[in-house]
Amino acid sequence: MNSSTPGFHARSRWSGWINLFMGMVAVLALAAMANYLSHRHYARWQWAKRLDTDLSQLTRLTLADIHQPVTAVVFYDRRESLYRPILELLLRYSQLAPSLRIETVDYELEPARATQIQNRYKLPPNVHDLVLFHCAGRTEVVPHSALSQVSPTGRTPDGRIIFERTHFNGERLFTSALAAVSDTNRHAAYFLAARGTHSFTNTTSWDGYGRLGQRLAQMNLELRPATLGASLPVPRDCRLFIIAGPRADLDTQEIQRLREYLSTGGRVWLLFHRATRAGLEHLVAEHGVLVGNDLVSDPGNGFGDGSIKLSAFADAQHGIHPSVRPLAAQDMALRLGAPRSVTALPSLSGLKSTTLLSTSPQGIAYRQPPAGAAGAELVVERRGAIAVAAAVERTATGAVAGLAPRLVVVGDSDCLNNTLLDKEANSDLAWNLAHWLLDRSHLLAIGPRPIQHHQFSITERSRWELMGWLLGVIPGSILAVGSLVWLRRRH
């Protein structure tokens, strides 16, 4: 054999090496390709009850309408228990709306990226845990506090109140935020900034309405102050007029302006202060609602701090109003301070007035003592299920083309202040009433989802017993079987 030319073995060995190398590269490329394709076209199934992401029809329609690129930033600590439900919900959204891009930032693990996001979207430096939607220069922020509802569920042995998350508001807030960033029309809502009403700019003191203002802004509403007078009617672009607990009487000019506004299809949200009816009782009576000069309590249905718990939503004549139906369906309660009675009158031509909330049959209405008679004995005016909120709308027969006034009367203005807004389902009530007044009733279909809680208790004895099983009996039995097998095979 000629040693200067490669022999058969050398050639076959080289071809073997090349074959091996090419085969490995090809399989590697196949694996990479499969992963690349799977990354582009994937499916996700949520099998856990707590991640149930069946979306409402409204969300599906909203997502189908999104054609511009929208970015959703989940700015969250991943250890936060809401992180997973939020992410899964948004991933479900992105499956239906491919132009929705999801970005996750854990500010604990990624401080540099967190700073970038804060700078890009002009977020305050200490802001944490939020979901942000951005589209064509418009940004909507959904804060962590709004994403879930917290309720007291009991007390610790040392008397401290235990709070638990009870409901998850993700779908409702995300759909609303998406609608807001992709909709260029921002509607105006006005609030009466006179007569001692609650301040919509005050987010710090207990009786401010600043937090409610923030929630209304999340509904794509632009909130503006307004004053009424002889030459100051309700602005033409007003979609919703809010009168939040006036402490002083409105004059006849102001009331006349409100009457005119309602007669032209206006939407008014009226919350009464505990101290006065502000001269508005006649206006609301014209619309089928009687506001009592009283204070309502519900013994046995309180929170121990003077506030009362309400969970009766049915109206004897009209059933459950759409704005409180999601609350009734979820068996959610509301917390009111000291409401006055608000009775929906049964029949007024062309008007339909519906009771929204009422006390239990043990409710008591005390007559308001006259001004300056502090300390006077309270006189019981009536007992039974006493209504404290009502909604009025014009019926089909009474409706004039293009004009459909709506009025919501709540006998307590404290229930939506900065302190009580996030208690129980108060913020849900506010959300639902605003949407009903704005004729966005379809949004009421997206109710909060209940959050399942886990808490177990294991006694000392059970713990030792369990440890005995887990650390002793089970491994020990396996070793015993092994020893038997070993012994049997040995002999």
Binding site: G23, W47, R113, E164, S462, L466
Partner: protein, 250 residues
């Protein structure tokens, strides 16, 4: 097929007819039990709003068991046969190389799953001993089982590959542990995301075992994770097959 099943039986017999298999199983149960006891101690009488199954992959024990047990199970698959000289005999029988590789892999995988099987009963045991546990949600339990099965398959394939490279079981175990732990640690890059990282974060996120297992434990089954683990398992089995064939060819 008959030859394949015979080889799988032989592999399983190797585990169950010696003390070794039982020691591994008992060790896994001991670590799982310890993990559960620590978790129970931490959560006793405290409200939490995610199921226990979701908390599992966040515990160090979970990953310790996965990453440590896999090399111990697979280190002997090929290395022991080579050291004892039985591999050549096996390869001269009328059985294809693929049948040998797949049988060894299947045997190791089945044994791995059997070591985890008692863990499925844990939530049900807990409902007996702890009050207020509520009903067990079978969804996350099933998805976690799928996750462990897929991850187990991948780790077994890595172990078989490492074992096929050497005749020393210790070196095989170390190699397997190094590859698995390397893959596990790569996932942390996706979690930490250094500032220089741009679009690569999607790649590291795709490789992150922590993220995959986080999904499975929360009751989410994602086709990306399924493809990831099956493709990598296939890849390492192919490599193993090539190494075994190469030895025969050499």
């Amino acid at each position: 097929m008959q030859a394949f099943l015979t080889l799988v039986r032989r592999e399983l017999a190797g585990h169950f007819l010696s003390m070794r298999g039982y020691v591994i199983m008992a060790g896994v149960q001991l670590l799982l039990g310890a993990s559960l006891c620590i978790t129970l101690e931490a959560l006793n009488q405290k409200p939490f709003d995610m199921p226990l199954t979701e908390k599992m992959p966040n515990t160090g024990f979970f990953w310790l068991i996965l990453l440590l047990v896999a090399p111990v199970i697979t280190m002997r698959t090929f290395a022991h046969e080579r050291a004892s000289g039985t591999l050549e005999t096996l390869l001269t029988t009328p059985v294809s190389d693929w049948a040998v590789v797949l049988a060894k892999f299947t045997g190791a995988w089945v044994f791995f799953l059997l070591t985890w099987l008692p863990a499925l009963a844990t939530p049900f045991i807990l409902t007996r001993y702890a009050s207020g546990m509520g009903d067990v949600d079978p969804g996350p339990l099933a998805s976690l089982a799928i996750g462990i099965t897929l991850l187990g398959g991948f780790l077994m394939a890595v172990g078989c590959f490492a074992s096929s490279l050497t005749r020393s079981q210790i070196i095989a175990a170390m190699t397997s542990f190094a590859i698995s732990t390397g893959m596990f640690l790569i996932g942390f890059i996706a979690v930490i995301r250094p500032p220089w990282m741009g679009d690569q974060s999607a790649l590291f996120s795709h490789l992150s075992m922590l993220e995959h297992m986080g999904d499975f434990a929360s009751g989410v089954v994602d086709t990306r994770h399924v493809v990831f683990y099956t493709s990598l398992t296939g890849l390492f089995l192919y490599f193993t097959h090539k190494v075994v064939s190469f030895r025969r060819w050499r």
